[in-house]
Assembly symmetry: C2
Amino acid sequence: MNIITISREFGSGGRELGKRIADLLEYDYYDREIITAIAKQKGLDEGYVEKALENRTWQTMPLTYRQSFAGMNRMQSTQMNLLVAQKQVIEGIAKAGRDCVIVGRNADALLADRKPFSIFVCAGMDAKIRRCMERAGNGEGLSRREIENNIRSIDRSRAKTREMISGGKWGDCGTYHLTINTTDWNIRELAPAVAEFASRWFGR
Amino acid sequence: MNIITISREFGSGGRELGKRIADLLEYDYYDREIITAIAKQKGLDEGYVEKALENRTWQTMPLTYRQSFAGMNRMQSTQMNLLVAQKQVIEGIAKAGRDCVIVGRNADALLADRKPFSIFVCAGMDAKIRRCMERAGNGEGLSRREIENNIRSIDRSRAKTREMISGGKWGDCGTYHLTINTTDWNIRELAPAVAEFASRWFGR
């Protein structure tokens, strides 16, 4: 069973890259599907699950609190429950035993014992802002500065979650097998290059 | 003209990777050849040139001194002269117009206007120590700790030189097109994967 995990800076095109790689290699693809599965399992609204997992209030709690669930308010406790559910869903995907691409959610750390091929996708800030503006139809009326602040805030959040889950440093090249800078690439042209590289990895 | 540059952590196998990529793509290969050219141009011993460029005393000087050559002692002044010569040699290679792989010496920054495909090669510390011990026939009698200290010291030096030459951050994924972690690879198997990836880049 081959698992490819993709961690990415917000706006780097990592999600599109993951989808295209899955299509090229005929692998299953998981991204939003994980949120859907958690929502179903917990009987919660998908939008709520997504927001709760993105929210950073729990990240600032001392680690001892996080581990024991003691001293948490209701929202923090819900968030921890959702993180646990997310872990179970991702482990369930792996247990199914089908080749797959999983985008985000620290799947590389959660599935480390299954030796996924782990990719980190980054890009220059200008390229990320451009991508965000294109994707949202000119950035939902946000200014360039506001988009940049959003990107930085989301990436800080991802880095903190990563640190809590694995101790490994988010975005550090030693944490992943391959780190790709998409700044000067068209994702459509990049995807076959990465798919070939991953095939070499699994075939070695 | 296609230029591939390889920056690497000491012991990561970046040099072997560069050589193998050059062989596979039938590109020229430059590494030690640059030292040889500088030595020839300056009428100096190769070993001396290499040591002088590795020496870090000049890195600690204030930048204004470095730029003006004022206030330098003789050794520091020699080192700055050699850095300038190195830049000229690398620009000369690019001017020759032949496809090539250049290992180290911040060639990606020096040749930025020629848009090289820039690779950074890293590896976990254990893998780097193992590689150093194999290469030197059990580490030239050095202890594991001494080898690790050497690796850290050489990489700190590379990071500082990088910072002085380009301002860009050595080892930061945003600085390179592709960052490869060689920890779980055999370089012989990795090389074709990287050569294919680079060919996709130049063909896009």
